[in-house]
């Protein structure tokens, strides 16, 4: 298939838009779960007394933070699923379409 330099350029430009949009969401999300999880391991390693503080009955802060990480992971999974479906998928479809439109010309 013959393709002019400009059409390739258009396709690559539409991919750059998609990558930019992905970075806008994925970077903060990755920072959030990495901080929460690695932060918890650091706390458990170096701040035992803090992690051992009682919260409800015999349950200490460590177990509460572990439970929080479960909820956070599940929350991120659902949030990412929705964002990908509503933001990324349409952009990916558009990028593929722009390539097809250009190469037909």
């Amino acid at each position: 298939v013959f393709q002019s330099a400009t059409s390739l350029e258009a396709a690559h430009a539409s991919i750059r838009v998609l990558v930019g949009e992905k970075l806008r969401y994925l970077v903060p999300m990755t920072i959030i779960f990495m901080t929460c999880y690695v932060g918890l391991t650091v706390l458990a390693a170096f701040a035992k007394d803090f992690v051992g503080a009682k919260i409800v009955g015999s349950v200490n802060l460590g177990f509460v933070l572990i439970a929080f990480n479960y909820v956070l992971s599940w929350g991120l999974a659902i949030a990412y699923g929705l964002i990908a479906q509503n933001k990324f998928d349409p952009l990916a479809t558009r990028a593929a379409a722009s390539r097809d439109a250009e190469s037909v010309k």
Binding site: V1, Q3, L8, A11, H12, I15, L18, V19, K22, L26, M29, T30, F33, M34, Y37, V38, L40, T41, V42, A44, A45, F46, K48, V51, G52, V56, G57, S58, V59, N60, G62, F63, I66, A67, N69, Y70, S73, W74, L76, A77, I78, Y80, G81, A84, Q85, D89, A92, A95, A96, R99, S103
Partner: protein, 507 residues
Amino acid sequence: MNITLEIFAVILLITIGITYWAARRTATTSDFYAADSGLTAAQNGFALAGDWASAAAFLGFSGLTALYGMDGAFYALGPLVAFCTVLLLIAEPMRNTGKYTLGDIVRTRMQTRTSLLAVIAGTVVVNFAYLMPQMAGAGVLVRLLTGISYDWAVIFVGISMIVYVAFGGMLATTWVQIVKAVFMMTAGAIILAMILSMVKFNPLLLFQEAESKYTASYLLPGNYLKNPFDQISLGLGYVLGLAGLPHVMTRFYTVPDARTARRSVVWVMFIAGAFFACTTVFGLAAANFVGQDAIRAADKGGNLALPLLAQYLGGGKGSFGGDLMLGFVAAVAVATILAVVSALTLSTSSAIAHDFYVNCLKGGHVDGKREVWVARVASVAIGLLAIALGILAQGVNVAVLVILAICVAASANFPVLVLSLFWRRFNTGGVIGGMTLGLVSSVALAMIGPAMRGADAWWPLVNPTIVSLPLGFLGCVLGTLLAGRDFDNEKRFDAFLFRVHTGEEPK
């Protein structure tokens, strides 16, 4: 313990039926390696759960919690968080870019044989480091549960996996994993319901009783992992290592597109995550009801905490309900090992047949029928090797290999994979540098650490990921810079990126 054998015989018959059914539908390379990419998100989600929850998760997490309290709960959380990394960064690009193996991605990106060879090395080392302890664990577990000898147990497990993989390929492996995941979830749900009814649906009572029985320090971290850096190393290894495990990542090729791959990760996060969370409850309940002394008496490492708990909940030793529950959990544990070793065998044979034989030796020019034949032969050879290694491993400390598998995956495979997908300047030199430094530092540090050398270790950490992971990335960067710029490769990156994000060729 006849009832274990009876329940396991039923599971075995189901899996053999599946293999017979799958074998008749497995003809092309796409069938053999990827179940013709025809699975739904829910099917792949269950198979991922069956693949990822090894015996270490099914039995180990409960046992660790029973004996060491919070550290067991930490162990159980990591495998769920690991899927956040996979979901956000790896699953969709992987589905869009590759076809059958981890090597496909690096080969498409670099288009060099040396980079592919480096990835094959990473795949084979990780898979065998993972496979050997599974075989040894199977030997111990099957002997403990059924009374047959260690060697025969290893041979039995090995032959079953060879049959599943060689005849039924990915389709049989997938359904063995799905069946196992369903049995595992069922066992988990029954045990959870029984525990909750015993504590009058107030899980806080479990913590209270554990505290009064074993003092407050039982519920603190650091009882199992004494060195604080080991704790962090373990966390890092899990969160980044999963993305470098070839036998789990190739599951994304079994679905038709990136959207389905994404949805299958969400599935596995909910089903496997819920199970992992339950193992903490099971561990506390086992410590309370069965008692740490009885658990240690049955197995020093605590691996029989869950079967013993099931026996207690069913009515205790000697009762019909107790035997039934014990038999059920034990049979599921054996099925768990079968599902995992099959995936490892399949993934290794794909690396040998597809990456090495077809793409390295023959430059991609091999007829599909011949490729499937080579892959089947490779799976038989790998299975026989695994049996031999499993028998040799009896009595040897294989714990170091478990750590090594996940450590190499995080320190060598993960940096190479992620930089291949996202860094324009990354080149063949970088692949080789990262793979070498990540692999060598992981193996060297694990070998001189306490897992291998006990008290006279030359290096304090059991798990070296905290050092070897940065070294792996450093190797990637240094290799890339030393090799000089590869302008053809950088120019191709735009087209590669198009594939990574859309799953289509940029014509």
